[in-house]
């Protein structure tokens, strides 16, 4: 299934990884979709870093679902970067993805290839998986990210913009940290 992603969403994911390079990070993709045909990702909402536990996850999902309703968007994907260099979707990632999938169909799990996250490499670090029965199978269609996005990211990282990114962990500790990260990535 074809998956399209814009500058804002892709950049937020990479910035989230850069903010917490030694920890697991995860988050949601928002956007629109066409039944069985394609998914278009227009934004990313970073969720947590380190260990994800149920109460905070449930609250975050409720908040993001409500936000989506208000903006006629949907949760179309879930991204997860492992702590170490292995790039297979971990048991926890699959568990969370399955939970979200039970509410939202046509949904993709994304893992981040930790080796490719550096935008200087100009390679897409996101690999998408689609649910097939009980398993998550790699999507045959590859994600395209254009080079302007990578160039912009290199600048953002050099300016340490990742320090200003807020995920739900930051938000729940202090509500003034906005998980929407508006204006963080100038399109």
């Amino acid at each position: 299934m074809e998956v399209l992603i814009n500058n804002t969403a892709y950049s937020k994911v990479v910035l989230h990884c850069y903010k917490y390079p030694s920890q697991e990070v995860n988050g949601l993709f928002l956007g629109v979709k066409a039944e069985g045909e394609w998914i278009q990702i227009t934004d990313a909402v970073p969720l947590f870093h380190g260990t994800t536990l149920a109460p905070m996850l449930e609250m975050a999902l409720l908040v993001v679902e409500e936000y989506c309703e208000s903006k006629a968007l949907q949760i179309v994907g879930y991204y997860h970067a492992n702590e170490r260099e292995d790039n297979e979707p971990s048991a926890l990632a699959k568990k969370i993805a399955a939970k979200i999938h039970s509410n939202v169909s046509i949904f993709s799990l994304f893992t981040i290839d930790n080796h490719l996250a550096n935008p200087k490499l100009k390679k897409t670090c996101l690999k998408s998986f689609l649910k097939s029965g009980d398993q998550w199978k790699p999507n045959s269609s590859e994600l395209q990210v254009n080079s302007a996005v990578f160039n912009n990211l290199v600048n953002l990282i050099e300016e340490n913009k990742y320090l200003s990114l807020n995920d739900f962990d930051n938000h729940f500790s202090d509500p003034s940290n906005d998980f929407l990260n508006v204006d963080l990535v100038a399109s």
Partner: protein, 328 residues
């Protein structure tokens, strides 16, 4: 140099970087002040010394800045640094491993090795260097050499655990850490790390045990009550939800209302009340459930009005939906 390096090695200032994400919140303001000073006076010896000292004593992890300004400082031949230079060399060395800066790492290491040729502490750094290069077997033999002479060298034991963790050998790391904790049962940092290791394998019962130990030895610290509640909730089930509700409530009793603990405990409590209500018949026993949820809702909305007014309409809807579920 490539700042981004994802590795399981918790290249440390203390030993682990497990702080449950809390210390970085606590230090955020002071750290920001230091960073602003550094931006204005990037080569000022005093500014750099104070920053490095702050980071070192609080076990924070800002390797990018430590390397950048530490390198500047070390190139200055200022008399101001004195004996602190050795601690700084160690600090910059570890930071440069974190940011994958081989040149600076080598420079720092050779200076330390020259000054302290027979030091166990420097030998441990050599092990770290090998780990950073991916030479885990060689690093392991260095640690084993040190442990052969000093079987209870705490930093080295922890390094062995960290290395097992980095190599993905989680069950071995857990075993080793348990062995360590049998002797050093008061080591808070180690219990936290063990809890994290268990959680990474979704072994909730074992993680609960760790938090129980932490609560027993630090009964006044809200963090452990809150995390215990979160793990109980994750385990699921009516009894666990009931217990989680008590622990979230207790956290709110003992924590500073302005702290991040308070906000997260409020959210945890709200989610738990909501979960309890869906447990059917048994929930009738909890006649306070709706009242507690309502209390949380009021407190949360007050916070949002104060800190994030643009999010209030959103939160009102979310909490209203949760309340409907709680009352059902």
């Amino acid at each position: 140099s490539d700042v981004y390096k994802r590795q399981g090695i918790n290249a440390e200032y203390g030993v682990f970087t497990t702080d449950c994400g809390m210390s970085s919140e606590k230090h955020a303001k002071d750290l920001k002040a230091h960073c602003e000073l550094l931006q204005r006076y990037p080569t000022n010896t005093n500014t750099i010394l104070e920053f490095l000292s702050y980071v070192r004593h609080n076990n924070l992890r800002r390797s990018d800045l430590v390397v950048k300004h530490g390198d500047i400082l070390l190139k200055q031949s200022s008399g101001q640094v004195g004996d602190e230079v050795w601690a700084i060399l160690e600090q910059v060395f570890i930071a440069s491993l974190d940011t994958n800066n081989k040149r600076i790492a080598d420079e720092c290491f050779s200076r330390l090795k020259r000054q302290f040729p027979n030091s166990t502490r420097v030998k441990r750094l050599e092990g770290l260097k090998l780990e950073a290069e991916g030479r885990y077997e060689d690093a392991k033999s260095i640690y084993e050499q040190i442990l052969a002479e000093d079987a209870w060298n705490i930093p080295v034991i922890k390094r062995v655990v960290a290395m097992l963790k980095a190599a993905g050998k989680t069950s071995q790391a857990i075993a080793k850490l348990n062995e360590y904790l049998k002797v050093y049962m008061g080591d808070t940092e180690a219990w936290n790390e063990l809890a994290d290791l268990y959680l990474s394998q979704q072994l909730y019962k074992n993680a609960e045990f760790c938090y129980e130990e932490l609560i027993l030895s630090n009964p006044h610290h809200p963090l452990y009550h809150r995390k215990y509640a979160e793990v109980l909730f994750s385990s699921g089930g009516f009894e666990n939800y009931k217990l989680a509700r008590s622990y979230f409530s207790h956290t709110l009793n003992i924590c500073n209302p302005q702290s991040p603990h308070a906000n997260r405990a409020l959210i945890g409590l709200a989610v738990t009340c909501s979960a309890l209500s869906s447990k059917g018949k048994q929930a009738k026993d909890l006649k306070d459930n709706v009242a507690v949820f309502d209390w949380c809702k009021k407190k949360l909305l007050a916070r949002y009005r104060e800190k994030a007014p643009d999010k209030v309409p959103l939160m009102e809807k979310v909490l209203a939906k949760m309340l409907d579920k709680t009352q059902a």
